[in-house]
C-alpha cells in the first residue's frame, strides 16, 4: 500500500535521510521510532507530499507522490497550532470535507460521527481553547478520521499530553485504525509506545538516517495497557528496540524468532 524506497533528503548540505526504505501493507499500523532529530518529521513530510525529497521514491497504492495525495490525512503533534481557534470542534473537523465535495449538511453529519467515535459528541460546539490538550488531540484525530483517508500519518501525536491521556489516546488510535482498516504510519520517539501500538516497528538510526531494523510485533491485535506490557514478548521487544535506538546492533536471537 505504502512503499518508500531509498528516500534521501538533505537540507542544504546537511543530509538527514540517507536511503530509507519502508513498506506498509494495507491496513497495517507501522510505528517508526528513532532518536530526536533523526529526520522522522522529514520522512513524514515527504510521504505527505509537503516537501519534495532530494531523492528516492514514495508510492501510495502504486502511484508516486508528486503533489499532495487526496487519500491521506496527517495528525501533527502540536494540536494547539494545527486546530483553528476561530472554529468550533465540529467546524474544524468538517473543514477538510470541502475537498470531498460534500454539502454543508453532509459535512456536519460526518463531523459529528467522527467526534462521536473519539468520544467528543458533547463537545462539538466547543472551541479548541476551551478544551484540554487530550481533547484537542482527539479533535485532530476526528478530523483525520472524517476525511476517510486510506493512509493516516501521525507525527508524534501523543508527545504533548500527560501519561494517562497518552494511554487513552493510544487505545483510541488502535481501535479506530482497526475499525476503519486504515494503513497507518505512526511516528514516535517513545520506544514503549512503538511496541504497544505497532503491528511492526521500524527503528531508525541517527542521522544521516537509515533503517536500523524492521521488527514485527507478535502481540496480536487486541492490546491492553497493563496486561500487554507485562508479556514476555513485549518486554523483550521493547528492550531490543531500546538498544537499537541507542545505536546497538540487532540481536540475532530476537530476530531469529520471526
Amino acid at each position: 500500500m505504502l512503499e518508500i524506497t531509498d528516500l534521501v533528503h538533505s537540507y542544504g548540505s546537511h543530509r538527514v535521510l540517507d536511503g530509507v526504505s519502508i513498506r506498509a501493507a494495507e491496513g497495517e499500523l507501522v510505528c517508526v521510532v528513532g532518536p530526536s532529530g533523526c529526520g522522522k518529521s522529514t520522512l513524514l513530510r515527504s510521504v505527505a507530499g509537503l516537501i519534495r525529497p532530494t531523492g528516492g521514491r514514495v508510492l501510495i497504492d502504486g502511484r508516486p507522490v508528486e503533489r499532495i495525495p487526496d487519500n491521506l490525512a496527517v495528525v501533527f503533534q502540536d494540536y494547539s497550532r494545527s486546530l483553528y481557534p476561530w472554529m468550533t470542534a465540529a467546524n474544524n473537523v468538517a473543514l477538510p470535507l470541502r475537498r470531498r465535495g460534500l454539502d454543508r449538511r453532509r459535512r456536519r453529519e460526518a463531523a459529528m460521527a467522527a467526534l462521536d467515535q473519539v468520544g467528543l459528541a458533547d463537545a462539538a460546539e466547543k472551541y479548541p481553547w476551551e478544551m484540554s490538550g487530550g481533547m484537542q488531540q482527539r479533535v485532530s484525530i476526528a478530523r483525520a478520521l472524517a476525511y476517510r483517508p486510506s493512509l493516516l500519518l501521525m507525527d508524534e501525536p501523543f508527545g504533548s499530553v500527560d501519561a494517562q491521556t497518552r494511554e487513552d489516546l493510544e487505545d483510541l488510535v488502535l481501535r479506530v485504525c482497526a475499525h476503519h482498516g486504515m494503513t497507518t504510519l505512526l511516528i514516535t520517539h517513545d520506544i514503549d509506545e512503538s511496541v504497544y501500538v505497532g503491528d511492526r516497528v521500524i527503528v531508525l538510526t541517527r542521522s544521516p538516517t537509515r533503517v536500523a531494523a524492521d521488527l514485527p510485533v507478535d502481540l496480536g491485535r487486541s492490546r491492553d495497557q497493563i496486561a500487554t506490557r507485562q508479556l514476555g514478548a513485549f518486554v523483550r521487544l521493547r528492550a531490543e528496540v531500546g538498544r537499537l535506538v541507542r545505536g546497538g546492533s540487532p540481536t540475532p536471537t530476537v530476530l531469529e524468532k520471526h
Partner: protein, 257 residues
C-alpha cells in the same frame, strides 16, 4: 477593573475641565481669545440644536464613512496581496518607505488640484492616509501566520488560495481589525483637515472656520470638542466589536482584560 478604569478617566477629564474653568475665572486669560470652559461646554450643547451644525456634521460623517469603507476595500486586498507574495512586497517596499513618512495632510493641496468635487477630494485624502495602517498591519500579520496551521490545511490537499482565505486571513483578522481601528481615527482627522484647507460648502471643518471668522470662539471650540468626542467614541465602539469578534484570539493569547 473596567469600572475603575472608566472612573479614573472621568475623574481626569473632570479635573481638567475644572482646572481650565478656574484658570479662566482668575482672568489670567482673556475671554475673547479663549472662552471659559463653561462657555465652551455651553456652546457644544447649543450645537446639538443648531441645524446648520448638524448638517455639517452629517456631511463630515458621510465623507468619513465613505472614505473608510473605500479604504478597507482597497487596503485589505492590497495588504493580502503584498503579504502573500513576498517578491511583490519587496518590490513595492521602497515606495512604501518613501511615501509613508510624508505627513498625510501634505497631500491635501495635491488633492485640491486633482478633484473638483469636495466629497471626492475628502474621500481621496482619507483613502490615501488611512490605508497605511491597514496595509502594514495586514502584511505583518500574514507574515506571522503559523506555518503549521497552513501546512495542516495543505496536507488535506487545499491549494494556496484556499490556504490564504481559510487560514491566513482568519489568523490575520484581529490584526487587520486593529489596523482598521487606527485607520478610522486617522480618517476623521483627515476629513476635517481637508475641510479646513480646501474649504467648501459643508463639513465640521467649514463650520469651525465660519464660527472663527464670526468671532464665536465658544461655538468653534464646541465643534472641535464634538470632533474629538467622535474620535473617542468610534475608537471605543471598534474596540468592543474586536473583542466580540475575536474572542478566540484573546482567549488563546491569554489576554486578561
Amino acid at each position: 477593573m473596567e469600572h475603575a478604569r472608566v472612573l479614573r478617566g472621568v475623574a481626569g477629564v473632570a479635573g481638567f475641565l475644572a482646572a481650565a474653568e478656574i484658570v479662566g475665572a482668575t482672568g489670567l486669560i482673556d475671554d475673547r481669545f479663549l472662552p471659559r470652559m463653561s462657555a465652551i461646554l455651553r456652546g457644544a450643547a447649543e450645537l446639538l440644536a443648531d441645524q446648520e451644525f448638524l448638517a455639517d456634521a452629517r456631511a463630515t460623517l458621510a465623507a468619513w464613512g465613505l472614505g473608510l469603507l473605500l479604504t478597507v476595500a482597497v487596503a485589505v486586498p492590497a495588504g493580502l496581496a503584498l503579504g502573500a507574495l513576498p517578491p511583490v512586497e519587496r518590490a513595492v517596499r521602497p515606495l512604501i518607505e518613501f511615501l509613508r513618512p510624508i505627513p498625510s495632510v501634505a497631500v491635501v493641496p495635491l488633492a485640491i488640484l486633482l478633484f473638483s468635487d469636495n466629497l471626492h477630494l475628502r474621500v481621496a485624502v482619507v483613502v490615501y492616509a488611512a490605508s497605511w495602517p491597514i496595509v502594514i498591519n495586514t502584511i505583518y500579520a500574514l507574515r506571522d501566520v503559523d506555518p503549521l496551521a497552513k501546512e495542516t490545511l495543505r496536507s488535506f490537499g487545499f491549494g494556496p488560495m484556499s490556504v490564504l482565505l481559510r487560514v491566513a486571513l482568519p489568523s490575520a483578522a484581529p490584526f487587520i481589525a486593529t489596523g482598521i481601528r487606527v485607520a478610522a481615527g486617522t480618517a476623521i482627522i483627515l476629513v476635517i483637515s481637508a475641510e479646513l484647507l480646501a474649504g467648501g460648502a459643508e463639513g465640521v471643518g467649514i463650520y469651525i472656520m465660519e464660527a472663527a471668522s464670526g468671532n464665536r470662539m465658544d461655538l468653534m471650540l464646541g465643534a472641535t470638542l464634538w470632533a474629538g468626542l467622535f474620535g473617542v467614541l468610534s475608537n471605543s465602539a471598534l474596540v468592543a466589536v474586536e473583542r466580540r469578534l475575536f474572542r478566540w484570539h484573546d482567549a488563546r493569547a491569554g489576554v486578561a482584560r
